[in-house]
Symmetry: C2
Subunit: 553 residues, 2 copies
C-alpha cells in the first residue's frame, strides 16, 4: 500500500492552481501585446483542456486501481479478545479431496511464499507436522493486485488467518504433507509477524542430517546444534521436532498406562533435600533461607520410603539433577527420570520382569500407534528400525559374567573388564546385535563393587549383587536392583562405602520401622527417546536442554 | 517357653540321688535293725517305683510339649532372593465368604495382636486400606502353645507372611474392613520386624480429627501434625493417608486424561534457570559449577515459549519452587504445579471454559470412581461433601467487580477491596455457598494492577485484564489469563513493572519470531487435594512436605 500511495498523479485541482499562477501582467497592454496574450490564453486554454482530459483519464485509472480487496487482507489488530464470532477453524491435517468446493478458515504459519508474476502467489501454510499449498490469484472484485503484492511480501514464519476454498489438487503436491488438495485463498490476514530476522529457516533446520560419523562432534549439519539450541523456539518448529516431542509425550504416557494397569501409585517426592544424598560430589547446593539445601539426584530415597510407608508400588516422573561436569553426547545436568519401586514377594526378578514388560509395551505401542511420527523423524535422522525380540524366547538376559565373556571372545583384554565402560558398552551392543538380532537386552548380576550402598548382595556370592541394567543400541537406559530393606545391613553397607549412617538418618529410620523386600529402577526419558530414534545427541531429546555450559533458553 | 521351663518338676533321677543320701548306717546290724532296714528298703523300693511311674508320666508330658509346630512359625532369613517358589499370594481386599475353606498366603502388617488365654491369639492384619481378622488357635500337631505365644508377642507394625484358611465370619467383624470373613492361621512367619520403638501407632494416627476450630493452630489432635511429619513413614501408613495419596494420583491422572483428549502435548521444562524469573525476590539460588542458577517458580516462561514453538496446546506436571518465608496452612516452598497453556483462536474464554471443563471432569470422576477413598478420608476429616453446579446454568462466573459487590453487600468496606485478601476470599466463599449453593466458582476480569506483566490487558478498559482465578471452598486453586503475545507490548509492560527486558531476552525473543494469541493457567495439585477433602493443612496433601522450616524427611 505504501508503494501505490507513492505514485505521483497530477490532479484536476493542481492544474487550475498552475493557471492562476500568472498575476504579474502589465496594466495597459499594446495591440501586439493583446494578440500575444490572446495566443497565450488560447494556448493556456488548450493546455488546461488537455490537462483536464488527462486528469479525467488519470482519475479513471485511479478509480480502476482503488483496492476493492481492502477488507480481504492486511494486519489484524492485536488480539485482546475483542470479539468472539465463534467461527469454526480447521486443521490442515483434516483437509481432503472430499471437501472440494468448501470454504474453510484456518490459522497457520507461512512456511514459504513465492510470487509468480504479479497476479499469482503460492504460499506453503504449516501447522505443526502438516502443510498445504495455498494459492492467491488476482481476480476482479475478489483478489486485487495490491493484495497479491502484500501476500508475496509476507515474511516466512508469520502467522496468518487464511480463508479459502478447498480444491482437489490437479496433481499431488510434493512440497506439502497434505498434497491432494490446495487452498484457493479468498482472505488472508496477519495475526502475528516477525520483529527480528530469522536465525535460520525451518526448512533448513528440517533437512536430513548426514550419516553419523565415528568422530562425535564432526558437523556436516546445515544448521549446527549449538545454533539450533540458541534459537530453540525456531528449531522446535521443524516437523522433526514436533514429532520428537509427540514421541516424548507418548513414552511418558505408555509408562504410566502400563504401571497404572499394574496397581502402581504415582508419587511426587521433594527435589529439595536437607542432606546431600547418595554421593556428595555431584549434588547441586541451594541457598535455603538462612541455611542450605540440595537438589535430589534421584527419587531413590523417597520412593524407598514410600515402600516402607506401605505404598507397595510407586512410580514418579520428574526432574533429577546431576552436578557432573560431563560434556558428552549423553549427559545433561537436568533430565527427566522415570522411576519406579515395588515390594517383592519372593525374588527380585519379579521387578526385572515387570520392567521388561514395561519396555516391550512401550516399544510395541510406539511402533503400532506412532509410526507416522517415527517416519517423520527418520527423514531427518536416518536409522535402522529399532529391534527387539518377540516370541517365546523373550528378551535376551545376560549375566555380567556372560557379557564380559562376549567381549573377551571379541578381543577385549579381560583385565580391562572389571567394569564395562562406554566404549565397551557400545561394542557389546554391536556384538549382541550381530549374534542375537536385538537392540534391546538386559545384563543381570553386576559386581557389588560397581553398585550403590543400598543394593542387595547376592545370597551366595557376596561379591555379586541382585542388580541389573537395561540397554538400547548399546547404551544403558535403566539401572535397577533389589534394595536392602534391613536397617542393620544397610547401615553396615553405608559404613563400607564410607558414608556415615547418621547423615542419612531419616532414610535409615524408615527401615527400622519394618519394610517389605523391594526393588526398582530408574529410566532416563531422554535417553530412551534419543536411542529409540537414534538422535545421536541427548540434547535433541530435551525441550530446553541443560548442561554445564547451557542454562538458556 | 521361659514360663514352662520355670515349672519345678521332681525328676526320677533326683529321687535315687536322694535315696543314696544315707550312707552313715552302722556296720553290723541287729535283727530289729534288719527288720527296720527291710522296712526301709521296702519303703524306698515303693518310693522308687512311685518316682519311676511319676518320671514316666513327666517324660510323657515333656514329650507332649516338644514343639511340633516349629516349622510353622518364626523369623524368616533376610530375603536376598534365595529362591522363587512362585506361590500365589493374595490381597486382603479379595477375600470373601465364597472362599470359605480355601487356604491362602499373604504378606501383611500386624495392626494389632491380642492373646485370649494361652490357647488363642487374635491378630488384625493390614494391607494399605484393607484389614482382616486372623485367629491362631492351639491344636495338636498344628498350632503349638509355643507358636501362639510367639504370635502374641509380635510387635505391631511387623510384616508377616501368613498362611491360613478363609472362614465365613460368624458375625460381621467391625474392627476389620473385610469383616465378613476371618483367617484361621496355619503358618505365620516374620518377614521384617522393628528395630526401634514406634513413635505412635497407626491406629492412633488414624483417629477422627476434632472439628475444625477458627484458630488455625489449636490442636486437639491425638497425634500432632509435627509429630506425624517427623515420622511421616508411619503416618503415611494410615488408611486415611493411603486414600489421600490414591486421590492425589487420581487428580493427576484425570488432569492428563482430559487434556490428552483435547490434543495437548505433555512437556518437561527445565527447573534450572539462567536468570531469576518472574520476580527476583522469591527465587531459590543454586550454585552452578563456577556460576549460579535459579529454580523455576513456575513453568510459565517455558510453556509460553512452547506455544511460540508451535506446540499449540501443552501441559506440564512438575515441581515449582517458591522461596517465600510463609508459614501458613496453605504455603509450601515446593509443590506440584499442574500447568497448561494453549493457543486461542478468538477469545481467552476458550481457555477459561476448557479449564472449567477440566475441573468438572475431575470432580465428577472423583465422585464416581473414588467414593471409597473419599469415604475413608471423611472418617478422619469430617467435611460436607464438595459441591459444584451441574446443569444448564453451568459453573458460577463472577467478574472481579461483582465479587467485590457481593462482599460490600455483606458488610466489607469497599475501600478494603482493591485486592481480595485471604480472609475476604474465605468470606466470599461462604457468601457464594449460601447464595449459589456451590463450593466451586470462577472470578474473571481482575484489575491489571494485581496481575503479572505478561497478562493481556482488557481491550476496552486498560485498568482491567483478561485474567481469572478459580476457587474451591473459598480458596484460590488456579490462576490464569490470556498472555501478551506481542513482543513490543510485552517489553513495554515489563518496563512498567520495573523489569529490564534485557534480563529476560530469551523469553522476549520467542515472541519476536511470531507467536499465536494464547492463554493458560496453573493449578496447585496439593491445594485441590486439600480443599476437595478439607484436610485443613496443605502439608497433609504432600508426601514429604517442604516449608521454610522443614527439609526432612
Amino acid at each position: 500500500m505504501a508503494d501505490s500511495e507513492a505514485i505521483q498523479n497530477p490532479t484536476a485541482e493542481q492544474q487550475p492552481a498552475a493557471a492562476e499562477g500568472a498575476p504579474e501582467a502589465p496594466k495597459v497592454p499594446s495591440k501586439n501585446e493583446l494578440k500575444k496574450r490572446a495566443k497565450e490564453e488560447e494556448k493556456a486554454r488548450k493546455a488546461a483542456e488537455k490537462a483536464a482530459r488527462q486528469a479525467e483519464l488519470e482519475a479513471q485509472k485511479a478509480a480502476a486501481e482503488v483496492d476493492y480487496a481492502k477488507e480481504f487482507y492486511g494486519t489484524l489488530p492485536l488480539n485482546q479478545s475483542q470479539s468472539r464470532p465463534r467461527r469454526e477453524r480447521v486443521q490442515i491435517a483434516s483437509l481432503n479431496p472430499n471437501m472440494d468446493g468448501q470454504t474453510v478458515l484456518l490459522r497457520a504459519r507461512v512456511q514459504t511464499s513465492r510470487a509468480q508474476g504479479s497476479k499469482m502467489v503460492f504460499l506453503n501454510l504449516r501447522q505443526r507436522t502438516d502443510s498445504v499449498q495455498a494459492l492467491l490469484t488476482v481476480a476482479p472484485e475478489k483478489v486485487s493486485k495490491q493484495m497479491a503484492k502484500w501476500a508475496a511480501g509476507l515474511q516466512i514464519e508469520s502467522i496468518v488467518l487464511a480463508e479459502g476454498v478447498v480444491k482437489k489438487a490437479p496433481e499431488f503436491i510434493k512440497s506439502a504433507t497434505v498434497g491432494d488438495v490446495e487452498l484457493h485463498l479468498t482472505k488472508l490476514h496477519l495475526i502475528s509477524g516477525l520483529e527480528t530476522i530469522l536465525p535460520f529457516t525451518v526448512d533448513d533446520a528440517n533437512r536430513p542430517e548426514p550419516a553419523e560419523t565415528e568422530a562425535e562432534d564432526v558437523q556436516f549439519k546445515r544448521v549446527l546444534l549449538d545454533t539450533r539450541l540458541n534459537n530453540r523456539v525456531v528449531d522446535l518448529r521443524t516437523q522433526t521436532n514436533q514429532a520428537v516431542f509427540r514421541l516424548q509425550h507418548a513414552i511418558g504416557h505408555l509408562f504410566r498406562e502400563y504401571l497404572d494397569g499394574k496397581g502402581f501409585t504415582e508419587i511426587h517426592s521433594p527435589k529439595l533435600q536437607g542432606a546431600a544424598t547418595e554421593s556428595g560430589a555431584s549434588v547441586f547446593q541451594v541457598s535455603y533461607f538462612k541455611g542450605k539445601a540440595f537438589l535430589a539426584q534421584s527419587p531413590q530415597l523417597a520412593k524407598q520410603m514410600a515402600i516402607a510407608a506401605d505404598f507397595e508400588r510407586v512410580y514418579e516422573i520428574g526432574p533429577v539433577f546431576r552436578a557432573e561436569d560431563s560434556n558428552t553426547h549423553r549427559h545433561m545436568t537436568e533430565f527427566i527420570g522415570l522411576d519406579l519401586e515395588m515390594a517383592i514377594e519372593e525374588h527380585y526378578h519379579e521387578v526385572m520382569e515387570l520392567l521388561d514388560g514395561l519396555f516391550l509395551h512401550m516399544f510395541r505401542s510406539l511402533k503400532e500407534k506412532y509410526s507416522k511420527e517415527i517416519e517423520t523423524v527418520r527423514k531427518q535422522f536416518p536409522a535402522d528400525e529399532f529391534k527387539w525380540r518377540e516370541g517365546p524366547e523373550g528378551t535376551l538376559k545376560l549375566s555380567f559374567k556372560e557379557a564380559v565373556d562376549l567381549l573377551v571372545e571379541d578381543g577385549v583384554p579381560r583385565e580391562d573388564l572389571d567394569d564395562i565402560d562406554t566404549t565397551n558398552e557400545k561394542r557389546l551392543g554391536r556384538i549382541v546385535r550381530a549374534k542375537y538380532d536385538t537392540d534391546y537386552f538386559i545384563i543381570d548380576k553386576f559386581p557389588m563393587a560397581l553398585r550403590p550402598f543400598y543394593t542387595m548382595p547376592d545370597p551366595e556370592d557376596p561379591t555379586l549383587s541382585n542388580s541389573y541394567d537395561f540397554f538400547m543400541r548399546g547404551e544403558e537406559i535403566l539401572s535397577g536392583a533389589q534394595r536392602i530393606h534391613d536397617a542393620k545391613l544397610l547401615a553396615e553397607q553405608m559404613r563400607g562405602k564410607g558414608i556415615d549412617p547418621a547423615s542419612m538418618s531419616s532414610y535409615l529410620d524408615a527401615f527400622k520401622l519394618g519394610c517389605p523386600p523391594h526393588g526398582g529402577g530408574g529410566i532416563g526419558l531422554e535417553r530412551v527417546l534419543m536411542l529409540f530414534l537414534k538422535l545421536n545427541n541427548i540434547r535433541r531429546a530435551s525441550l530446553f536442554p541443560r548442561d554445564p555450559k547451557r542454562l538458556e533458553p
